[in-house]
């Protein structure tokens, strides 16, 4: 009996640790500034005026933080474009590479895997300057493509690693049967193999999307105007404008977090199995 109460108490404590910072921000985003300065945790006069700054700024463009807030809608679109492209590239090229690594036994198998994983051990700051110069020399500064390429490079190794593990659990005989029944090699790949590996693919797709959505350093370096700035870069401007009321920053924060968290909740089973399986499998 005591054990159960201790357990529940600890669970509540752990849950509070996990959600409190986020919940406070959500709560503040619905408060007036005057109320946020008091010690309230739940808004007594809930308001949408903070969110108005982001979508309908008529008459409020002189307020501090308005310039940044106004860029949000376009920034979110940029993030969507970049994120989905990165997801697509990961699914296509990642599955191709993982399939080859999982199925075909060729000499460079281990070496390639080490090459991929090794490329992740280089910290972002270590290659940011040359990458910047390479992107600049191709005239790709301030384009979506630059950010998409950079993000794909960082997410592909993890994708390949996870998918390789996943693919190795699919029995080879199913594909052999398909080949016997007249499928081409590529045909067996698309019609028999991929549907079976859908959970792994979904996990990897969600990972790469969320990773791209949240990436900051290279998005910062490669974009300069709102044409291509993703939402993480625009949100970081709040860190520099010192007098922005936190209620507005909180609303912006919620807007940035909204999509990744919704996706994480919808696909949580895939995410959890993806991470867990990759490490224990």
């Amino acid at each position: 009996m005591i054990k159960r109460t201790v357990l529940y108490a600890l669970v509540i404590l752990a849950t509070l640790y996990i959600v409190t910072p986020f919940l406070w921000v959500v709560s503040v985003s619905f408060m007036h500034e005057r109320e946020a300065n008091q010690r309230h945790w739940i808004p007594r006069e809930a308001t949408l005026e903070n969110y108005e700054m982001y979508f309908a700024t008529q008459g409020r463009s002189a307020e501090i933080g308005a310039a940044t807030a106004r860029q949000f809608p376009r920034a979110i679109i940029n993030s969507l474009i970049i994120g989905s492209s990165v997801m697509f590239i990961n699914l296509l090229f990642g599955s191709m590479a993982a399939y080859a690594l999982a199925r075909v036994n060729f000499g460079g198998n281990l070496l390639l895997l080490l090459f991929y994983i090794g490329s992740r051990s280089v910290p972002g700051v270590a290659i940011m300057i040359p990458m910047y110069l390479v992107i600049r020399s191709y005239g790709l500064l301030d384009t979506h493509l630059a950010v998409i390429l950079a993000h794909s490079t960082f997410t592909l190794p993890f994708t390949i690693w996870i998918l390789k593990g996943y693919f190795q659990t699919v029995p080879l005989d199913l594909e052999r049967a398909a080949r016997v029944d007249g499928c081409t090699r590529l045909g067996a790949l698309f019609r028999v193999f991929l549907p079976l590996t859908a959970p792994g693919m979904i996990a990897v797709g969600i990972f790469s999307f969320i990773a791209s959505w949240g990436e900051f350093l290279f998005a910062l370096l490669f974009t300069s105007t709102i044409f291509s700035k993703p939402v993480t870069v625009v949100a970081s401007d709040f860190a520099q404008e010192l007098q922005v009321p936190f209620t507005i920053v909180a609303a912006g924060g919620v807007l940035v977090i909204l999509l990744p968290i919704i996706l994480a909740f919808i696909f949580q089973r895939f995410i959890i199995h993806g991470i867990g399986g990759a490490v224990t499998g």
């Binding site: 357990l7 669970v11 752990a14 849950t15 640790y17 996990i18 959600v19 910072p21 986020f22 406070w24 921000v25 300065n37 090229f93 191709m96 080859a100 036994n105 060729f106 000499g107 460079g108 390639l112 991929y116 490329s119 051990s121 280089v122 910290p123 972002g124 700051v125 270590a126 940011m128 300057i129 040359p130 110069l133 390479v134 794909s152 490079t153 592909l156 693919f167 190795q168 659990t169 080879l172 949240g214 900051f216 350093l217 993480t232 949100a235 970081s236 860190a239 936190f246 924060g253 940035v256 977090i257 990744p260 968290i261 994480a264 909740f265 995410i271 959890i272 991470i275 399986g277 224990t280």
Partner: protein, 321 residues
């Protein structure tokens, strides 16, 4: 890996001369499939790594772009004899070490907790994904708010310090984020908060892989909770702990997004982690040659740590069988 790999073709290694045409076709196919991924990584990581090394051996500052003199190890010597480098290395080491230790302890605790049966376990486990899904910059902005002038945690900390003062008679003043000590530890707290879910999920998966019979047998033999933990749970957890330690160490040295929005290196240079120092060197001082040298040093450090960890990991793995 414990699962048998049923699908790996059993082919002996053959030299190219004796490969059948089918096998050569297989090989070509495999490389073809890998080609896009390889091309991308070569172009955007391998090539920049090479260029970075080349640039780090030259004096190259964007303020004087025509000047590109070869100075060999000059940049490296400058860095290794500068206060900035050792200071930021020290900050990074403290930041990373504390983040890794705290991260593992908290994640392990939460994983052990969430592994038990209780009502609402599924809901609580899904809530775990919240810190993971939050982008690093938003994490920083969030904690700026929490610990800023009217933030909830700031006021709580103020109350705690006041209480502490009253209980002990000391007169510690609490300056919040303006104090270097608070700022650095706040950065660690924010970083750990965000990294807990990933480690937790790994630990949960590993805990669930432990066969239940071992616990039952132990209970039959009358083992206490602590002994069950020490002799059954912990050995199974060593591998995941190592994996998490490697991952979190890499992440600790990479910390940039958080610092950018939480403290911008401040107050003063209290949170000048090595990634921030490199960024400042490159884009504030425009010292591209020196910044590349910084990058190489960071890479050497992180790779060195990775090698140490991996050797520990594989030695453990060999022992475990």
């Amino acid at each position: 890996m414990n699962k048998p790999k049923q699908s790996e073709p059993i082919e002996a290694r053959k030299t190219t001369a004796r490969l059948t045409s089918k096998e050569r076709g297989d090989r070509a196919f495999a490389y073809l499939l890998n080609a896009p991924a390889i091309a991308l990584i070569l172009a955007l990581i391998a090539y920049p790594v090479g260029v970075s090394l080349w640039m780090s051996l030259h004096r190259y500052n964007l303020r004087r772009p025509e000047q590109f003199d070869f100075i060999g190890l000059g940049n490296y010597i400058n860095i290794l004899t500068s206060y900035d480098f050792w200071h930021s290395l020290q900050i990074s080491l403290y930041f990373t070490a504390l983040s890794v230790v705290l991260g593992i302890v908290i994640s392990l605790g939460i994983a052990l907790l969430f592994n038990e049966e209780f009502a609402g376990r599924g809901v609580v486990r899904s809530l775990l994904l919240i810190p993971w899904a939050v982008p690093g910059v938003v994490n920083g902005l969030m904690w700026v708010g929490l610990l800023g002038a009217h933030g909830a945690f700031n006021e709580m900390m103020g109350d705690c310090v006041n209480l502490f003062n009253r209980l002990t008679g000391l007169e510690i003043s609490y300056f919040g984020m303006a104090s270097p000590v608070v700022a650095l530890n706040a950065a660690i707290a924010a970083h750990v908060w965000k990294s807990v879910p990933f480690a937790c999920i790994i630990f949960l998966a590993s805990l669930q892989a432990i066969p239940a019979e071992q616990y039952r047998a132990a209970r039959v033999d009358g083992a206490s909770v602590w002994n069950r933990f020490r002799h059954i749970t912990l050995p199974w957890l060593l591998h995941p702990i190592m994996v998490v330690a490697i991952f979190e160490t890499m992440n600790g040295f990479r910390a940039f997004d958080l610092i950018y929005t939480l403290t911008a290196g401040g107050p003063g240079d209290a949170t000048y982690v090595i990634a921030w120092q490199t960024y400042k060197e490159a884009f504030a001082r425009l010292n591209f040659g020196g910044a590349n040298a910084y990058s190489y040093l960071i890479t050497l450090i992180t790779m060195g740590l990775a090698i140490v960890y991996i050797r520990l990991l594989y030695r453990r793995g060999a022992v475990q069988g």
